[in-house]
Every structure is written in C-alpha cells, then in structure tokens.
C-alpha cells in the first residue's frame, strides 16, 4: 500500500510540475471537437446527430494520446529496471501509474464534458448521461490503454501503435456508452447500461494490471 501511495505521489509530482500536463488533454479534447463542426458544417441538427460520436471519439483519442507515454520515460531512464529489480509488484506499480494518470487526464475530461456537450448541441438530458457514462468509462479506458502502453514501451515510436492496438479493444465500451446516451436522450431507462459499464470496469480493473505488469517485465529483458 505504501508503495502504491508513494508511486502515485511520484507520478503526480512528475505531472503537476508542469501545469500544461494537466491542461493539455483537455485542450486537445476541445480542439479536436471544434474541428468537427468545421469539417461537417455548422448546422445544429446535423451536429447534434453526430455529437455523441464526436465527443466519444475525441475522448478515446485524448486518453490514448496521453496514455502512450505512461511508462515510456520510466523505461528510457532506467527507472523501470529499478522497479523490476526491487521486487515490488509490477501490478501495483501499474495500478498506481494508471490511477495517477486518470486523476490528471481522465477526471478533468469528465468535468469538461457538460460544456463541450453544449457546444455541439447535445440536449441537456444527454449531457448529464454523457458525463456519467464518461465517469464510468474513463477508468476503463485508462486501464485498457495501459496494456498497450506497456506492450509498446520499448519501441521507438509507440504512439500510433498503441492507438492501433487499443482502439479495437475500446469498441464494446464505445458501443455501450453511446447506446446509453442515446437511450437517455430518447427517455428510456439507463440502469442496465450502468451495470454493464460497471461490470466492464471491474473486469478491466482485475485483468489489465496483470497484463500490463507482465508486459513491463518483458520490456526490461534485453
């Protein structure tokens, strides 16, 4: 536990040293979203049709982009070797890193969501459900993303590769989450979706750190 906490503290320090670390995923999210109306056209009806899709894809990309570097610097400067050697659990280490990353990059997205929803003309009901679903989903995204980050940590240009490896894994989450938003806009009950998303979160919580930890172990073996 104390290793978990000190790892989280270390990562938060690394992130928070530069305020831009926290803000960048947010700004990225906002910039990507505002590109779509430019490409699609400004008509509110069209936009609100595609709004959930846009918001979701932007959120997935923002998570993945910031995820890519989760273990990179630890690998490159040799910290990862030290962790492996110290005999501390890599699963705990992964959990700590993902948690810190989520605090820095995931949570702010959830908070920004209502504003962004307005801009792309989601209806108000939809916005709250969107924020709720993002709250449930973003830890899952970070957890699953960490597997990709761990797998590609030793490769010179991981960024795109992580995206390619992980985006397909995000598909079920994406489908459930957009369905949930759509259901809430059309006035149906969303409890079922909430359970589903929670189940996925638990599954990711149980499995992703194991997979990521094993990949990290591999990456230092050279």
């Amino acid at each position: 536990m104390s290793f978990f906490l000190s790892s989280v503290a270390r990562d938060l320090r690394v992130h928070i040293r530069k305020p831009s670390e926290v803000l960048n995923p947010l700004v990225f999210f906002a910039v990507v979203i505002s590109l779509f109306p430019l490409g699609i056209g400004p008509s509110p009806e069209q936009l609100s049709l595609v709004a959930p899709g846009i918001v979701w894809v932007a959120a997935l990309l923002a998570t993945l982009m910031s995820m890519d570097l989760l273990f990179r610097s630890d690998y490159e400067d040799g910290s990862l070797e030290q962790v492996v050697l110290s005999g501390q659990s890599l699963v705990v280490f992964t959990l700590a890193k993902v948690f810190a990353h989520w605090l820095i990059a995931g949570l702010p997205l959830v908070v920004l969501m209502p504003v962004v929803g307005l801009v792309v003309f989601l209806e108000v009901d939809g916005i709250w459900t969107l924020a709720l679903s993002l709250l449930l989903v973003s830890p899952t995204l970070s957890l699953v993303g960490s597997i990709g980050a761990a797998l590609t940590v030793g490769l010179p240009r991981g960024g795109l590769l992580v995206t390619i490896l992980i985006l397909p894994l995000y598909v079920p989450v994406l489908i459930l989450a957009t369905a949930m938003v759509q259901a809430s806009v059309s006035g149906s009950d969303v409890t079922g979706y909430i359970y589903w998303l929670l189940a996925l979160l638990l599954l990711a919580l149980a499995l992703a750190p194991l997979a990521a930890g094993a990949s990290l172990q591999l990456s230092v073996d050279e």
């Binding site: 305020p19 831009s20 400004p42 008509s43 003309f121």
Partner: protein
C-alpha cells in the same frame, strides 16, 4: 534615436523610467470604465427588440475587439524580439499572452451569455464565433508552449516563432471561416456588420472600448513590471530595489 530605443529596451531602465506611471494609468482606466459602465447600464435606453439584454454589448464588444488587438500586441512584441533580440520584448510577450487569452475568454463567455436570450442557444458555429474560438486556441497554444518550456532560455524565442506563425495564419483563418459559414448555410443568425445604432447607444460603447484599452494596457504594464522583477530577481538592482522598499 536608436540609442534611446535600445536604452529603453533594457529592463532596468524601463523599470526605473516607468515606476511612477501606474497609479495614473490605473486611475484613468478606472474612471473611464466606471463612467462608461454607469452610462451604459443606467442611462442607455433598452433596445426595442432585445430589451435590457442589449447591455451585455458594452462588455462583449470591447472584449471581442481587444481579443484581436491583444494578439497583435503579442505578435508585434514577438517580431521585435526575433529581430532585435531585446529582452524586454520577450517579457512583454510573456505578460500579454495570459491577458489576451482571458479577454478572449471573456468575449466568448459574454457572447454565449448574450446568445442565450437573443438566439436561444449558447453557441452557434458562426464565422465570427468560430474565429474567436480559434484565436483563443492560438493564445492557449502560446501559453502551453511557454509553460512546457519553462526554465529554458529558448522559451521566449520559441513562443515568438509560434506567435508570428499564428499571425500569418490569422487573416487566412478569418477569411476562410467567413467563407465556410456563408458556403454552408444561409445566415440564420447574423452579427450585423455595422448596426445602425443610435448615437446614445454607440457613444457609451466607444467610451467602454477606450476604457477596455486603458485597462488592458494598465494590467499589461503592471504584469510587465512584475515579469521584469521575476526575471531579474538575482541581479543587484532588483535586490537593492526590494530592500529599499
């Protein structure tokens, strides 16, 4: 002439020369702003269509105008810095970016607040709105770059390059966004070009614009002096200045 220019460009000389300015600037800006606001809020008659919500104009329009002037100031300082390497220009650039971003943000927010009663929605993808948003992103980019490069001597020059690139692009963005809007959809909401406002409406607006400029300049000026102190904090003259106070 150039000599004088160069002497002023030394942060220390600038700081010494301007040390008595800011109470005056502050006082003047406050007078004009308060006067303009009182006039605008209490004495201007409500609009026959929009009612009292029209008064947001006196906050919104000057902010929108300043948002663009602020970028010009930043890019101007950037060019001076790139060409003559005057450190003061870099400090001026650093001082104006967050201020410009805030004013742009103010224009966006007041516009959105105004949009709700008049258009029934917080936001539309109108040309002007969009280019203001992009302007905001440009400011944020410059600030993000400076914050990411913090502590490097090159931060200033990097930001200067980015500002100038943004300056080249700004007219293109504005133009293309105008075009985009008119291409896609007939204007359902239009920000009229030069509304035929009655004198008792535009005169207070003019006062407010002047007030905003004064205010912007004053805050910029104070931030600049602050920036000088922070950057030169290890020099003797700042130490003696601090200990003299």
């Amino acid at each position: 002439m150039f000599n004088w220019f160069h002497r002023l460009g030394s942060p220390r000389t600038f700081f010494a020369m301007t040390s008595s300015w800011h109470p005056w600037l502050l006082g003047l800006a406050a007078c004009v702003l308060v006067g303009g606001s009182v006039w605008a809020l209490l004495y201007v008659p409500p609009d026959y269509q929009q009612g009292n919500s029209v008064r947001i104009m006196y906050i919104h329009v000057p902010a929108a105008i300043l948002a663009q002037s602020g970028y010009m100031m930043m890019a101007g300082a950037a060019i001076v810095y790139l060409v003559w390497r005057i450190k003061l220009a870099d400090m001026a650039m650093a001082a104006v970016a967050p201020l410009g971003a805030s004013i742009t943000f103010l224009a966006l927010v007041t516009g959105a607040i105004w949009g709700k009663p008049t258009w029934g929605t917080w936001w539309v993808w109108d040309a002007r709105l969009t280019s203001t948003l992009v302007l905001f992103f440009l400011y944020v980019g410059v600030m993000a770059l400076r914050s990411a490069m913090e502590g490097r001597e090159q931060a200033g020059r990097a930001c200067a390059i980015l500002s100038v690139v943004g300056l080249v692009n700004l007219p293109i963005i504005k133009y293309s966004v105008d075009w985009w809007y008119t291409l896609h959809q007939p204007a359902s909401f239009k920000l009229t070009e030069k509304p035929a406002m009655p004198v008792e409406m535009w005169l207070p607006l003019l006062v407010m614009v002047i007030g905003y400029y004064l205010f912007f300049f004053t805050v910029w000026f104070m931030r600049l002096r602050n920036e000088i102190l922070v950057r030169e904090q290890h020099t003797d003259w700042v130490r003696t200045w601090v200990s003299d106070r």
